[in-house]
């Protein structure tokens, strides 16, 4: 049933000045990195990627960047406070290949860290490119290192790791190493650049898209993308490059809650 289940916040981890991870007790069935939850704070409901899946302790986590009204409200909550969760929704990352490059930018690291943990657990050699604007916005370093994935970091201001964008670091990695597959989540301009790169390197890749979501369950059409009309909430949010080639609006524009288009820049 597509109905929010009320859960209590179990722990909150301050990941950075703007990002918090909220952990819940949750009976893990087949939650997959790249899938998302619809999160209801009793006022509004928004999509959030699953950033942590612990099938042993039966916990999941979501990591939220404070950028507006809703995310601001959620950031004010404390352990014991209630949220409504429904999901998991959408199609997550397909884990394939034995050496994988995972590229996350900003809060896009949320599904990427979950992916790197899950993939490492089953023996995949994961290299993670973690990109942020500045050092103390770099997310999940410790979890990535603990998962035995290789961590490559970069910051826009050079305060940590390579000075530059995630795409620069990813390009470096791709020229130095042979990857079977790439997965990525982050700002769409970053992913657009990465998309062109993987085309050049001829590496299969999956990208996680964000579009405005209302129902999350494939009904309202708010998240449909041109030209095929696919629903990001059901057919996505993760797409292979083959599919992305038919999503002509990728990297160009997205629609807001009334359906008006806004260009991506």
């Amino acid at each position: 049933m597509h109905v929010p289940k009320i859960v209590k916040i179990k722990r909150i981890i301050e990941e950075s000045p703007t990002v918090k991870t909220f952990i819940f007790d949750w009976e893990v069935k087949n939650e997959i990195p790249g899938q998302f939850m619809m999160v209801w704070n009793l006022h509004d409901e928004k999509p959030m990627s699953i950033s942590m899946i612990d099938p042993l302790k039966n916990e999941i986590g979501i990591s939220i960047k404070n950028i507006g009204e809703f995310t601001g409200q959620v950031h004010e909550l404390t352990p014991g406070d209630k949220l409504g969760l429904r999901g998991p929704y959408g199609r997550g990352f397909h884990i394939a290949g034995s050496k994988v490059l995972a590229v996350g930018g900003g809060i896009g690291m949320a599904p990427i860290v979950a992916f790197s943990e899950e993939a490492s657990r089953i023996g995949v050699d994961v290299h993670v490119v973690s990109a942020a604007s500045t050092m103390n916005e770099l997310l999940f370093d410790d979890r990535i290192q603990r998962s035995r994935s290789k961590l490559l970091t970069c910051t826009d201001d050079g305060s940590h790791g390579l000075c530059g964008f995630g795409t620069d670091l990813a390009e470096k990695a791709m020229s130095e190493d042979d990857y079977d597959m790439i997965v990525s989540c982050g700002p769409e301009i970053m992913m657009k650049k990465l998309f062109e790169m993987v085309e050049k390197f001829k590496i299969p890749a999956q990208f996680s898209l964000e579009r405005y979501m209302k129902c999350g369950m494939g009904l309202c059409g708010q998240c449909c993308v041109d030209d095929l009309g696919w629903r990001v909430c059901v057919e996505g949010p993760v797409f292979w490059t083959d599919e992305l080639k038919m999503i002509t609006e990728f990297g160009k524009y997205k629609r807001d809650s009334s359906g008006v288009k806004h260009s991506i820049s």
């Binding site: 597509h2 509004d44 309202c220 059409g221 449909c224 629609r255 807001d256 359906g259 008006v260």
Partner: protein, 302 residues
Amino acid sequence: MTILEIKLCGIKMRNPTMLAAGILGSTASSLNWAARSGAGAVVTKSFGLSPNKGYANPTTVEVTGGVINAIGLSNPGVDNFKDELLKLNKSVPAIASLYGANPEEFSEIATRVEGLVDALELNVSCPHAIGGCGSAIGQDPLLTAEIVGSVKKSVKIPVFVKLTPNVTDIVEIALHARDAGADALTMINSLGPGMRIDIETGKPILKNKFGGLSGPAIKPVAIRCVYDVFDSVDIPIIGVGGIRDHEDVLEFLYAGASCVQIGTSIMYEGMDIFGKILNGLERFMDEKGYGSVDELVGIAHK
């Protein structure tokens, strides 16, 4: 020509199914997708004069046998929507669903899109519209007639009127719409409205508190509405409400619908629902020796 082909108000359709208004109908891309998936025609999301964000989330929640929704008619407004209409691939007839607050608004929008679509569907029946746009109209026979009359005067393409079941007597409304010139009636818009309250917090889940009930749960009511109106009104009926398989389609045809629309069940079955239903329908007609969909219409009245 296949046995599924029909003609509705002069419009040729390759089969008697349509995508219902408001389900994945906000972009040309998704309307084209429905057409590629088998729909015999597509109805757009209802749009109005200006962009409308609709209600805040949660806008939908599942219930036994369907969902309740209070999307609140979010749409980018007629001017932006015209861009979408221009991108329709035109492989199947397209029907624009409109809403407004008064006869003038309806006529204005109708005139602006007349050239881009094959027919109009007037949404006077949304149970959760803002500012008296929805079922507040469709529950008032005279206001309904006024709006239908006004649009009919403004455009030449067929005008369908979509009715709400949330009235004491739907036949009365249907007769008024017919008398005002409606070319066909679409029945039913979502029912109730209904509400779902969260047990842990005691809060109504939808931001708008209540929303229209749709899905298989409302099918018996939709069938009865079609059956009743078929007896008293002589214009075609487009049946909608809870269709999930080809047997449901048959039930609507038997009750008196000339064709049907499919909405909520796309949530359960995906876009493949059109193909599945058409296969089932064609197999059924073939087995029983029916030569055309028309032969099925109104059988329950015999």
